[in-house]
Symmetry: C2
Subunit: 132 residues, 2 copies
DNA sequence: CTGCGACTTGAAGCGCGGTTCAAGTCAAGG
DNA sequence: CCTTGACTTGAACCGCGCTTCAAGTCGCAG
């Protein structure tokens, strides 16, 4: 099965990540090479799925350290599961916030207020009136 | 009306941002002080609304430079309006992505796969199969 | 053997979004 | 007057997420 392994260059091309980024992720414990072809890192094909998940989570605003914790998670690890559940709540909150922002942008595109920022609808859509 | 202006300290307290951040935002063109009390920056109360909007957008993943462009936008500025519309699409895409991530997390919390990352449902929920 | 080209390493550098610092300035109070 | 305390400044520093660089190593073709 050793021939099934992918060279770092191939993984880079297929994942859209730079080789330097892959090595960086390895240092951070996000991925690991299964072996080497000479000096070249050789990755299992599943690593591509893992990288897809990593970039998705990263794009979603997770830090690489957080992602590393997920990546190493095993089902037995109730502790990590709880962190996942907490993250789910975080993501939900983020979605709600982004939804408000989207609505604000949608309104702003057709609004006539001069310093757009002071449009009452725009402000209301953001829903933030802490106590200022 | 000069007495209606707020000291930087007050703005910092009410907005939840550090004074250093407010000065940083000023350098970046996001906000500006209306005047000074001695050396102290004095802000108009509306600045608090502006800051609420700024932090919202920043938390949503916009760069300060992007936000600065919005902040300076005027209704006549069709160019900026288009960028807002484009941003709205971006935000929508982000919401969709986060929704997928949330569903993945939700599933992961109860999944039995050992390296969680390799759970087929988890992967499918991420919906990323570019061509790898 | 001698290139060549794609990889290897560690270390340095970068852009972002700030914070922290030293040194200075101001208004108010004693 | 002198102190106090909150501000002022520019410059340095920080953590993150990488990229870039110099120098070295490998497999393969000719």
């Amino acid at each position: 099965m050793a021939e099934a392994l992918l060279d770092i260059g191939e993984v880079a091309r297929r994942s859209g990540l730079a080789p330097s980024a892959l090595r960086f992720y390895e240092r951070k414990g996000l991925i690991e090479a299964e072996g080497r072809n000479g000096l070249r890192r050789a990755y299992r094909p599943e690593t591509l799925d893992l990288l897809a998940m990593i970039t998705c989570a990263r794009d979603a605003g997770f830090t690489l350290a957080e992602i590393a914790a997920f990546v190493r998670a095993r089902p037995a690890d109730a502790h990590v599961r709880e962190r996942m559940a907490a993250k789910e709540r975080e993501v939900s909150a983020r979605i709600a916030q982004l939804t408000r922002l989207r609505d604000s942008l949608r309104h702003a595109a057709g609004c006539e207020h001069d310093p757009l920022v002071e449009c009452p609808d725009f402000k209301r859509a953001l829903g933030r009136v802490p106590r200022g």
